[in-house]
């Protein structure tokens, strides 16, 4: 069964450094998302991406965050200058041809900011 893959599984970074989290969505999907989950809390929406542009972003997704789909297979989340409070699990998800189809998630990247 096709799956969403994310790399790396764990990223440790000094505060103020840039990080790039990578995702390969399911190949025929058109809608892409990033979510984050702080330890022990619920999953929170960050950003949605469709047709090569951001369709919605949350308050969390400030100017330090950006997303890109540099080619036909990868979808990246960049945090320009990381803060301690960016420490969380970051999940990528994708869904098919409409917003009314299930989103499938990767196993996440654990981001630890020191």
């Amino acid at each position: 069964e096709p799956e969403v893959t994310q790399t790396p599984s764990h990223q440790v970074t000094q505060m103020g450094q840039e990080v790039i989290l990578r995702c390969v969505p399911i190949s025929n999907h058109l809608y892409f998302y990033w979510y984050r989950q702080i330890l022990g809390q619920k999953v929170e929406f960050l950003v949605s991406f469709y047709n090569n542009e951001i369709s919605e972003k949350s308050e969390i997704f400030d100017d330090q965050f950006s997303v890109e789909r540099p080619d036909g297979s990868n979808f990246t989340l960049k945090i320009r200058s990381t803060k301690l409070e960016d420490s969380a699990m970051y999940f990528c998800a994708s869904s098919g041809t409409t917003t009314g189809q299930p989103q499938h998630f990767g196993d996440g990247t654990r981001l630890s900011i020191l």
Partner: protein, 113 residues
């Protein structure tokens, strides 16, 4: 504001019993609902979904019920097994929007052998 919540943070059941996990949502515009299972160190895994034009949907050992009048969802797991132990989240979508999922807090299901 929008929110999706679960009534109980932890549910403990005996192996073989049926489990019922509840969820309340607040956005009347939500028209698509999904239950996810999350095991430790993993991403949310799709279990079952239901659209707002239905009130019940069955899968393999799982049933989702939707009551739009009181904005309530439930997930029923038949003959609960140790492998069902995980955190369960309900999530809602307004499909006319961007498809963002709004998750509830999660219920931890513990299955006792």
């Amino acid at each position: 504001g929008e929110s999706v919540g679960l009534h109980l943070p932890t549910l403990s059941v005996q192996e073989g019993d049926n489990s019922i996990i509840n969820c309340a949502y607040s956005n009347s515009a939500s028209d698509y609902f999904i239950w996810y299972k999350q095991e430790s160190g993993k991403g949310p895994q799709f279990i079952i979904d239901i659209r707002s034009n239905m009130d019940k949907r069955q899968g393999q050992r799982v049933t989702v019920l939707l009551n739009k009048t009181v904005k309530h969802l439930s997930l029923q797991i038949a003959a609960t097994q140790p492998g069902d132990s995980a955190v369960y989240f309900c999530a809602e979508i307004t499909t006319s929007n961007t498809g963002k999922l709004i998750f509830g807090q999660g219920t931890t299901l513990q299955v006792k052998p």
